[in-house]
Each structure stands twice: as C-alpha cells, then as structure tokens.
C-alpha cells in the first residue's frame, strides 16, 4: 500500500476592525438587531455606488508588511458574480488579478522546528450578510449587518503537510493580525475564518492531487480535525480506486466530518471584471513607508526583546507573547518593578492558573500590572515571604486591592526582627527537647519540623532564612 502525503493550503478571512464598512458608511458592529447597520450602499439599493474606506487600505498594507509580502503599486477591485440572498448586489466586490499584496511568507514554529510557509497573496473584499433558517417555517431571514464589513483574504501556498502545521500557521496568523490591531481574531464570532484546501498524493509524486476546499472551519481545533478527516476520506477513496472530485465541502462540526456543499453539475462562473465604479488604488513608496513606521512590534520582535533585554527563557517569552495583551501587561509590570524573570513566573503560573481556574479572560484580569509588580517588589524587599505573597495574591485577585494595603491591613509583614524570631525559636526548642536531641545527633530532617513549627507560630510571617539560621545557632550553642 502506497504512503500518502497531504498537501494543505489555507485561505484565511480576517474581518478588519474599522468603524465603518469598506465601501459604505454604516457601522461595523455585531450582535445588534438585524439590519440595523445598513445604508443604501450596503443594501445594494438601485443607484448606489461604493466609495473605498482609506483605513481599509492601511490595514491591508499592515497585513502585507507583517507577512513579508510586496505591496503592489496598483491594485484593482473587481466584481465577483454569484447569487445568494446574503449577497446584496449579486456580486461581491473583491480583488482578482490585481490584489494589494503578493508573495510573502511566514516562519511558522512547528514541533519539527521553524517552517517557511509561503503566502501567495492578500486581497481586500467585502463580507456578505447572514441568513438564519427559521425552524418553524420553510424560510430563512436575511440580515445584512455583516454585509460590507471589510475583509482581508490571506491565501497561503500549498506548503503545509500536516494538520498540526496548518494549525500552527493559523495560530501565528491570528496572533499577527491581533498584534497589528487590524482584526480581533475572534474565530467563534466568525471574525476570523478559514477555508482549507486539502489534497493527497502518493509520497514522491511531483504533481498535486485533486484539491478539495473545505469551508466553515471556525476554530483551530476544527482546522486540524477537518484536515484529518479529509486526508483519511481522500486516501480511502483513492485506495478504493475512486477519483477525487474537485469540489467545495462544508465542515460539519457536530458530525466531525465534511459534506459536499454545492451540487457538482452546477459549475460556478464568477464572471469577474474590473469594477467600473472604483478607480484603482495606487500605493506609492511613501505610503508604504508611513505604514511601516506605524507598525507595532510584532510577536517575533517582542520575543527577541524579552529574551535579550529581560533575559527570559524562550518558552516563557513565547508564552508571554501569545497574546498581545499579555505582552503589554508584562511590559507594564516590568516598568514598575524591574525583576522580569520573577514577574514572568508570576504571570505564567499564578496569574494564568487563577484566570484559567476562574474562567476569566485576560482582558478582565482583576490584578493590574502595577499591583503584580508591587507584590514582587514586596518579596524582593523582604517585606513578605514568597509564601505569604501567594496569600496576598489570592486576596488581590478577589478584592482588586493593591498588595501593600492587604499586607498592611492583615498584618502580613514578614518578621525580620532577630530578637522576636529568637524568642519564638527558643520557646519551640524548649517545648521539644526530644527533637532537639535528634537534631543535635545529626538528623537534619528534624530541622524542617522546627522551621514548620516556627512558621506556624508566626503565621508564616517569619523570614524562613532567618529561622533556619537561628535554629542552627541555638541548637549548636
């Protein structure tokens, strides 16, 4: 039996985070009453004309620069024709043979190391509306709030070979658009969507197999699962001697499978032609330069900075940069108290753990970066012990109060007065003569027992190092 290789390409649609639509003035917003963000242009009323939102072009240039694309001097909008109730004009305004960005790549981190995934093109287009099926009757309702929201479509080369690579590429792309601030990356809401092109071929074969496009893949997990399903389906079909049909299939998340989307005998013919209502977009070097200067730091740059300047480990730098908001949090905390590794640790263990446990999004984190920094500062200044710090952190998380106030109010300050600690140690030693003997005879284990007792007596406030030293001193003497 032949070994098969899977060839994967992704078409990612990212909704751009603008205030108004790509060619119209109604608001880009979701979750409101149906058709409450419409205008004559969005509804495709007779006589309406599109006018391009300039910010959309800036965003597309950003996307292109961040994915190493060349920004094309001239790009042209074209009309793509098909009839669907959620497509108001009977055509979608898109870019066809002259897209705004061409020929880029992403260095994607996979389990097997960094892999370069080519990006064929990035083009601008308008989103369609939504139809909702009414269960009670044989009809659907069309809502055009989403119609006309700007999209960039980022088309990859067929460079991926495993579902995991595709997942990693998708995650990295999402991270980039979020860092750029051009898309919120919310896949659940459909603000970031993915169509997957999958084909299989015997290992060693040069030419690609017949590709199948899978639509409606709306999470990272589904990207991987849809590819897994498709590669199995296609291989099984080939092994049974059947041909793969070039078609569009729909991912069915309930069943975990794909199914044909359109009847095969009806071939699409989009009849593209340049939109006569829209003059070409010319992006000169100056424009590109301006956008370049306005680019925020991208994930790879932030990782490098965290490693170089803050001396973080690779894995920690990566975890802190997965989401831009976390990286910003870390930066703010470090600017308040300069102990990057310990702050990084607190974020990655205590903060993430607690948010995770409580099911709270990082956006809603109750502990501000300044407060976390202050907490670490209190440890570093020996005001509280690391152990007490965890209690303080819990309290901060609950109440949103700052660390100093909590320490103050609850009297959690570490006892660093030698006399005070010595008194407690003496009392405990006096109460446990047997253990003192054991310690003297070299049973080091008993030291832990005494430290525990002292901490218990001081409610954890004694400086553990001092306790250690004092026990040794008093039992040796």
């Amino acid at each position: 039996m032949a070994q098969f290789e899977t060839v994967i390409g992704l078409e990612v649609h990212a909704q751009l985070d603008t205030d108004s639509k790509i060619f119209a003035t109604s608001a880009v917003a979701s979750g409101d009453n149906p058709n409450s963000h419409t205008d004559p242009v969005t509804l495709g009323l007779p006589g309406c004309l599109p006018v391009l939102n300039k910010r959309v072009v800036d965003f597309a240039i950003k996307a292109g620069l961040a994915t190493n694309c060349s920004i094309e001097k001239e790009s042209v909008f074209a009309r793509k024709h098909y009839h669907y109730p959620d497509l108001p004009k009977g055509y979608q305004i898109s870019q066809y043979d002259k897209p705004i960005c061409l020929g880029g790549y992403l260095d994607v981190k996979t389990d097997e190391g960094v892999k370069k995934i080519g990006i064929t093109r990035i083009h601008l287009e308008e989103d369609a509306g939504k139809s909702t099926h009414l269960e009670t009757e044989d009809s659907s309702l069309v809502d055009l709030n989403r119609a006309g929201i700007p999209l960039v479509e980022i088309v990859s080369e067929p460079d991926m070979r495993t579902p995991q690579e595709a997942g990693a590429y998708m995650r990295q792309l999402r991270q980039i658009v979020k860092y750029l601030g051009i898309c919120d990356g919310d896949m659940e809401k459909g603000n970031l969507r993915c169509d997957v092109n999958v084909s299989v071929r015997p290992v060693g074969q040069e030419e690609f197999g017949t590709k199948v496009e899978v639509k409606n893949v709306n999470s990272f997990r589904f990207v991987e699962r849809a590819i897994e399903y498709e590669q199995q389906r296609q291989i099984a079909q080939i092994e049974q001697g059947e041909e793969i049909v070039q078609e569009t299939r729909l991912w069915d998340e309930q069943r975990g499978s794909t199914k044909p989307m359109r009847s095969k005998e009806f071939a699409e013919d989009y009849r593209y032609f340049p939109d006569p209502d829209l003059p070409p977009v010319i992006v000169d070097e100056l424009w590109v330069k301006k956008v370049k200067e306005s680019l925020p730091e991208l994930p790879d740059q932030v990782i490098a900075r965290f490693k170089d300047i803050y001396q973080l480990e690779e894995y920690q730098a990566e975890r802190l940069t997965e989401e831009k908001i976390v990286a910003n949090y870390f930066d703010k905390a470090v600017s308040r108290h300069n102990n990057p590794p310990v702050i990084a640790n607190w974020i990655c263990t205590e903060l993430f753990g607690r948010l995770n446990k409580e099911g709270i999004e990082f956006e809603e984190c109750p502990v501000s970066p300044a407060y976390l920094a202050e907490l670490v500062e209190l440890i570093d200044k020996n005001v509280i012990s690391g152990k007490i710090a965890k209690t303080v952190f819990d309290e901060m998380f609950q109440s949103g109060q700052d660390a100093s106030s909590i320490v103050e109010k609850q009297g959690l300050k570490q006892i660093t007065d030698t006399g005070e600690i010595e008194n407690v140690v003496s009392e405990i030693l006096a109460a446990n003569p047997e253990q003192v003997e054991e310690l003297k005879s070299g049973k080091e284990k008993v030291l832990g027992f005494f430290v525990g007792q002292v901490m218990k007596a001081t409610k954890g406030k004694a400086n553990p190092q001092m306790v250690n030293e004092l026990i040794k001193k008093l039992t040796n003497g």
Partner: protein
C-alpha cells in the same frame, strides 16, 4: 472588418449559428433568468445575430493595446473611516417584499 464605413447590409448575409440553445440555457442559469423552450429558440436567433455582429471586433488588431475600463486616469478616491446613521427599520420594511423580525424573508436557504 472594414473600419471605414458603417455597413448596414451585413444583416442579410449573416448566419446565426454561433450560440446554441444549450449555451443560452446555461447562461440564463448563470444570470438567474427563467427561459422556456420557445424563448430559447427566439434568443438563439437574436443573440446569434448580435454576437456575430460584435464578434467582428476580432478582425481588429489589438496586439499590445491596453484595455480601458475607465476613461479617466483617476486613482485613490477614498472616504475617511467615519460611520454614519443606518437606515431605519421602517424605511427598509417599506421597500421589502417580505420582511419579518427585522430580516428579509426568503425561501429556505440551504
């Protein structure tokens, strides 16, 4: 084609066998028009004539000639990203053939 004169006499000598009924049916389907047998028959003749007439362009050499899709060389016409008020539901409802719960009702979308 003779580009010197407006020749109106070609009509009588034209054969209209360029576009088939099947092609017309296919195009009608793309354009979402319902064409019955008789209409397809009539269209075969009319469209055949028209397409043969416009097809005369093939005789003009256009090697290296750029295509004009807009007559003015205007570029970069933009609007600022400013949102304005939406049409009101009543205004939309007034023009809609079938409006329900704020949406345009259509036969079931598969």
């Amino acid at each position: 084609m003779t580009v010197q004169t407006i020749n109106l006499s070609f009509l009588s000598t034209m054969s209209a066998d360029k576009i088939s009924k099947e092609q017309i049916t296919k195009i009608a389907r793309l354009a979402r028009l319902k064409i019955d047998e008789q209409e397809a028959q009539d269209l075969e003749k009319d469209l055949g004539e028209i397409l043969e007439y416009v097809g005369q362009l093939s005789e003009i050499s256009t090697k290296g000639v750029k295509a004009t899709s807009q007559v003015h060389s205007v570029e970069n016409i933009f609007r600022s990203d400013i949102k304005k008020e939406s049409l009101k539901t009543e205004e939309i409802e007034a023009i809609a053939p079938d409006f329900s719960g704020g949406g345009f009702r259509v036969p079931k979308v598969i």
